[in-house]
Amino acid sequence: MKRNTIITILSYSLSILFVYAASAKAMVYTDFMADIAKSPLLVNYNKAILAPGILGLEFLTVILLQFNATLKLGFYLSSFLMLMFTLYLGTLYFFYTNIPCSCGGILGRMPYPVHIIFNLLFTIFSFYGTFLCSKPVDRPQSAVV
């Protein structure tokens, strides 16, 4: 498979994932705020900054993944976010008795081991994307979601 095709597939998949995850959270924003407020890991963070910050970063990743000039940055940001989500869930799953997950929609309904593996897979996709973008990308700009 051509490098550009793989990059397009990866950026498409990650964009769909982030748009879905961010929209699902935004649609039930009050619940999302209440959920992260009860997370034992996030107890000492200001939720008024954290909650919109997460949503903002997810939407920013989607925007960055749409343009060839910012594609690599988008993959970097995606790698960071996906790795954070994976480590967050993994830490809660393995070290805490109560496991809150603020994900909305179908992601929030996944069993935790499946959710962790799912996140890990998309983390690998994101890192793979950054390595594929080492050389200039010649991807058609119609990839805007």
Binding site: D31, A34, L41, N44, Y76, L83, N98, P111, T130
Partner: protein
């Protein structure tokens, strides 16, 4: 390529540091809410401390009298705020078996009602003529409840065996028709989202069902036969009580007890909350949130100190007095609204 590896390593390191820092600062016991509580609206001053001979497991206040049930002794005690004397009223051993899930008083007839979910019976005792009786409904399994203000009905929480639906019902134990007042949405959580306790206020003829694990308090206005909701400031939704796990469901952090105890007067509902808010030191179980029973809105909060290292477990309100039980001891506070 080299640059790529360096940036990727920085990302991994950054993410690991953030999670590690979060884990080191984590507090699994704390349940945080995003609302800044208002401590300016209400003031409480301690007036009296009442010591019972055992742990008070249920408490009721009627006028100047406070009734406390001590389960370990199976005795009901009465405290008179006028002469400040605690006297044993009667022993429940002769007519009550199993664990008591609540008791109620009808001050007009002087009858005490003891609810027992094990036997599915409501036991009656009238001390003035030693009348003992029990009410039983073969097909109705109740979990908790209160005597209605009017008639012989009881306001109870019951689960239908066939449908597994939990409802709040007005039940006529004399054989009349029952009324389903509210049916809880069913979630695969073993009934946690519909678990709670009852309190009532005689002056406004209002009954309240307070859920342990979520924010949706059900208010039943008996005089108007009207059901409404009061949402507590933590805003925990009932559907968040369980989360899917690899083998079925697991109790989520959201299913931690939020509302521990409550009391009501003609215009206010006092809820002892387990949730802490930002900006003030609020150890779990030390804050009472006050809601208007007329508008359903949050008004103010009151913070109580621990009593001999113990946190409050029961609340009761009568006139301007708020009774707070800490195991054997009940502290009486005078309440003033600013």
């Amino acid at each position: 390529m080299k640059k790529n590896i360096i940036i990727s390593s920085a990302i991994v390191l950054g993410a690991l540091c953030f999670i590690l820092a979060s884990a080191l600062r984590s507090d699994p016991e704390k349940l945080m809410i995003n609302v800044a509580r208002n401590y300016e609206g209400i003031y409480a001053s301690p007036e009296d401390t009442i010591r019972f001979p055992g742990t008070v497991s249920a408490m009721k206040a009627e006028g100047d009298l406070l009734f406390g049930y001590v389960h370990e002794l199976k005795k009901l005690y009465q405290y008179n705020t006028g002469n400040r004397k605690t006297t044993p009223l009667f022993d429940t051993q002769s007519f009550l078996s199993g664990i008591l899930s609540g008791f109620d008083i009808d001050p007009v007839s002087g009858t005490f009602y003891f609810l027992n979910t094990n036997t599915n019976k409501i036991y009656l005792f009238r001390p003035k003529d030693s009348l003992k009786d029990s009410l039983y409904f073969k097909y109705l399994h109740f979990a908790s409840g209160e005597k209605c203000f009017r008639g012989a009905d009881f306001f109870i929480r019951a689960t239908d065996d066939a449908t597994s639906l939990t409802s709040l019902k007005k039940v006529d134990y004399t054989g009349g028709a029952d009324t389903t007042l509210y049916t809880f949405t069913q979630y695969p959580d073993g009934g946690i989202s519909a678990d709670g306790f009852f309190i009532k206020d005689r002056s406004s003829e209002k009954q309240f069902f307070i859920p342990y694990y979520n924010a949706e308090i059900i208010q039943y206005d008996e005089a108007r036969n009207n059901i409404s909701k009061i949402i507590t400031i933590d805003k925990t939704m009932p559907h968040n009580n369980v989360v899917p796990a690899s083998h079925g469901y697991t109790i989520s952090s959201k299913s931690r007890i939020i509302n521990i105890a409550a009391a009501a007067d003609s215009a206010h509902l006092f809820v002892l909350s387990f949730a802490s808010s930002r900006g003030k030191n609020e150890p779990p179980g030390t804050v009472i949130d006050v809601y208007s029973t007329i508008t359903g809105q949050y008004e103010s909060s009151l913070q109580l100190p621990f009593f001999e290292g113990r946190r409050a477990v029961l609340l009761e309100k009568s006139g301007d007095r708020l009774y707070v039980a800490f195991n054997n001891d009940v502290v009486c506070y005078k309440i003033k609204f600013r």
